[in-house]
Point group: C2
Chain length 443, copies 2
Amino acid sequence: MNKEIFVKLLEQRQYKAVRSILDVMNEVDIASLLTELNDRDLAIAFRLIPKDKAAEVFANTDGSLQAKLVAVFSETELRELVDDLYMDDTVDILEELPANLVNRILDTVSPSDRALINQLLNYPEDSAGSIMTTEYVDIRESMTVAQTMAHIKETGIHKETIYTCYVTDRRKLIGIVSAKDLMTTDDDVLIRDLMETEIISVSTHTDREEVAKLFTKYDFLALPVLDTDGRMVGIVTFDDAMDVMVEEATEDITKMAAMNPSEKSYFETSVLGHARNRIPWLLILMFTSIITGTIITKYEDAFAAIPLLVSFIPMLMDTGGNCGSQSSTLIIRGLALSQIRFRDIFKVVFKEFRISLVVGSVLAVTNGIRIMIQYQDINLAIVIALSLIGTVIAAKLVGCMLPLFASKAHLDPAIMASPLITTLVDIFSILIYFNVATILFQL
Amino acid sequence: MNKEIFVKLLEQRQYKAVRSILDVMNEVDIASLLTELNDRDLAIAFRLIPKDKAAEVFANTDGSLQAKLVAVFSETELRELVDDLYMDDTVDILEELPANLVNRILDTVSPSDRALINQLLNYPEDSAGSIMTTEYVDIRESMTVAQTMAHIKETGIHKETIYTCYVTDRRKLIGIVSAKDLMTTDDDVLIRDLMETEIISVSTHTDREEVAKLFTKYDFLALPVLDTDGRMVGIVTFDDAMDVMVEEATEDITKMAAMNPSEKSYFETSVLGHARNRIPWLLILMFTSIITGTIITKYEDAFAAIPLLVSFIPMLMDTGGNCGSQSSTLIIRGLALSQIRFRDIFKVVFKEFRISLVVGSVLAVTNGIRIMIQYQDINLAIVIALSLIGTVIAAKLVGCMLPLFASKAHLDPAIMASPLITTLVDIFSILIYFNVATILFQL
């Protein structure tokens, strides 16, 4: 939808046309259109959205827009909106809103809903409890397929998903029936005879990353969440799991570039916010690389005698850093996808050792030829070639081992990525280089 | 399931017990159990899997295991297996199998299926066509809800998903009805009055990454795929989209660490395979950093006069590299999630400039104090402080601009990550450093 046309229609009060447009638009697209309107147009446009879409549009807008809308809504409008929102979306919205607006919303809901919302707000931030919804189809094993279908017809419209029905007995989960099974089975079959009893579930305190991994592994549409007493309290749906996957990948990538992850997007984070996320690691890495500098001063005599030696420092340091990050990146990703485990450490180290022999030799020969052509100095070529092979081996071994040790120590392996590896490998490459040079040039 | 117990039961020919175990296990878990068996046990175990699970277990095992099984299957077994497999899984499997086994499978299917499989095998590797399935629920707008439900009961069991039904008219897609709508609507309502006509679809040639993005954006369960003439030819389901998301994130992370991405996992890739993926970028970056080395030789007089200058090279180079990768990483991720676009370039550059002033000042002051304490040399402190600020600004600007230019030039921004940025920023940091030093120390 073209924004200009939409705004023009709004300003000309062509509300019927606006309503027709909103009628055919997807909720996600309406939400992104709303972000481009000014405050007055926004309130009018939102009230013109067809009632059955309004809640989903609202859930898809960002925090600042939601705050604006809640501030102008009447109490009746608020009550209607919250009624139509799924419980997990309500909680997500409340987590973002300023306190006075949170109270406005909590005042409109029933006491039982208020208790439930407060409970959901109390689950740890990255837990299954914090992303679950409490609206699911709850059935008994003594029901028939026809009775279940009738039950769904009656209550299903308010459930986030009806494609998995949960068979409970005194709040304990005893079975699962998919809508596909219901729709392709005869009416008089008992749920007891249809339900699957091999159930994979999570607890309210399971880390949301673990939850997302289960979704990718088993291709679930929804996953039941049990409390510490094993009673069913909610479900996590696949759309929330997909969001978690994207957020977790962003978090890992951010950490791998030596920054503290932020929940906000690039433009939502302020200049000072960005600086705060970036400075701590830069300081740590800066002081680590001072060690490398200090080591270099120990070899002052060497490069005073052969100043050309200094010019190879960047090449050796960069190659070492790159080799190290290649290995650490593959290991970090393999750990994240559960393809590599700590017990594989010897296999990994042996593999990286062989890879570094191949890689190191290719780089050494290429560079050796380059130096022979440029300087016609066989000793220099040998020094650089040997240093390169040593650096590549050291870099790959450090690069593959540190993330594995981090995982063993229950640290996030992602912090053992390029920047830290690079700085550590620098020390090795400088030591190898100047020692080889000192010996071969008899300095 | 404990592997040892399972193998023992197999060897003792306790097939009834084995079958009971397989009966309650999840398909994905059975598949991973099979990978641990030897060839003889494998064939026996597979034949003991309940018939309604066999196809899904098969689809969840890896290529080498599938090849082993296909090789030992009788023609009847093969035909039954392929009948039960969804079309997209069959195609995935055929893409991995050696040619003689592909022919064995193609011989068992009907001529029309064979034509379809061959067509699916011909779609470009990363296209929607290559990941779609051709089994979906196809209905007419003149049907009622009850007729549709009856149609699903009859044909649904063989469809990969029945939760979205597609209303077509002479193969053109005219509407969509969800199973939720069907299950919560009265029997005599016409599909025409129930269907949604605002349809988001992709073409057979749409890049699979684009397809995955649509799933994350709109939370779809399935997405219709149209051919170039606008006729409906298949659907992509959310589980395939999730797999694509994980694969694409891995691909980006791999590229960002200066490696060619591989479709195989870490252990599946051979030593030479790893070396081949890593060497090209290492060579390119090595030769780029030789430029930095050459620049250093131009300042031989400077560090011959003050050898201490050399010891600050690693710190400046590392800090520049780290600052540059921080910026480039955030921009690359923002581009991948469509949160940042090329048209934002001025906003980004201005933001990074302000961030680099803050970050640069903090690093400069910290380091200045350190140098004053260690060397009591105010000139040296000023040289390093100024060089740090200059390096941070240059690094952040290069780091944020290169991925944006890459996206504009339709290159993958992920290649503009840490390693390349680091090597380029090195040149800036060395030039800034030695020029500041030459001026301030009047060398």
